[in-house]
């Protein structure tokens, strides 16, 4: 009886995602953009919940809304975003790019509807267990590799930003 609820939530989240995304692309104030990006991520987490993947949603909030947004905000702080006329925020190729993207996006988005829907009820809740099992058995190796990746990124980030030390 709450059948209408799910589509409604979906519609709201969709609006949020598209609005947030479009704002990131179109706005000029960098901090606003960053926050709207976080908002988009948040809506995305909602989508995940709607799809019954609460664990993923949790990660989404933790990593995207938390870590990544914060990182980007740091980036924004460290760099001076100059004030300049609107035109200079956008590349000269903007019209062309827009045409290409629209030409590409419309058919692809329409094609998206052609995926068959199994129509099965969404198993609710508790996907943490299988996910964890999967991660640590079948995907143990990629998991380890991902850890190496994080280490590599860490080292890379450090080496790129650390102050020059004088050679002894």
């Amino acid at each position: 009886m709450f059948d209408f609820l799910e589509p409604l939530i979906f519609a709201l989240l969709t609006l949020g995602i598209l609005f947030g995304g479009a704002s990131v692309v179109l706005l000029q104030r960098i901090t606003a953009q960053a926050l709207l990006m976080a908002f988009t991520f948040l809506c995305m987490a909602g989508m995940f919940v709607l799809l019954g993947a609460e664990t993923i949603a949790l990660f989404q909030v933790l990593i995207y809304v938390g870590a990544i947004t914060v990182l980007i905000l740091f980036g924004v702080m460290f760099t001076k975003q100059d004030d300049r006329p609107r035109g200079l925020f956008f590349q000269t190729q903007t019209p062309w790019a827009a045409v290409v993207v629209v030409v590409l996006a419309v058919p692809v988005a329409l094609l998206a509807f052609s995926f068959p829907d199994a129509g099965q009820p969404i198993p609710k809740g508790g996907d943490l267990g299988p996910l964890g099992t999967s991660l640590f058995t079948d995907f143990a190796f990629p998991f380890e590799v991902a850890s190496v990746l994080l280490l590599a990124a860490l080292v890379g980030a450090i080496v790129l930003v650390k102050r020059d030390e004088p050679e002894p």
């Binding site: 990131v24 980036g75 996006a105 996910l131 999967s134």
Partner: protein, 103 residues
């Protein structure tokens, strides 16, 4: 009434192309980075949707998403480091100013 799978995918596609458009039209490296994140998120949405709704529950999509989180984090970290390193030598984040090399 459940929302059909196609709708989720369509949203993801829309977000993906919004992100693409951002990469194509913006000049600030930081904003481009944000847009890339949006694109990754679009991928995530599609993966999760497929994972949950493509017949029987399939964990692999979700697992993939977890890895994408890791990758996204790593990318952002490295990306910002690169932007900052460049910023030190030349205080701008406008990528169009970075065209000493061409041709």
């Amino acid at each position: 009434m459940t929302v059909p799978l196609g709708a989720f995918i369509a949203v993801s596609a829309a977000l993906f192309f919004i992100g693409s458009a951002g990469v194509l039209v913006r000049r600030s490296a930081v904003v481009i980075l944000m847009c890339v994140e949006l694109m990754l998120n679009a991928g995530n949405l599609a993966l999760v949707a497929f994972s949950r709704r493509l017949g029987a529950l399939d964990q692999r999509g979700s697992v993939f998403v977890v890895f994408v989180f890791v990758i996204a984090a790593a990318e952002v970290a490295v990306g910002l480091a690169i932007v900052l390193a460049a910023y030190r030598n030349r205080p701008t984040v406008d990528v169009d100013e970075a065209h000493q090399m061409k041709g």
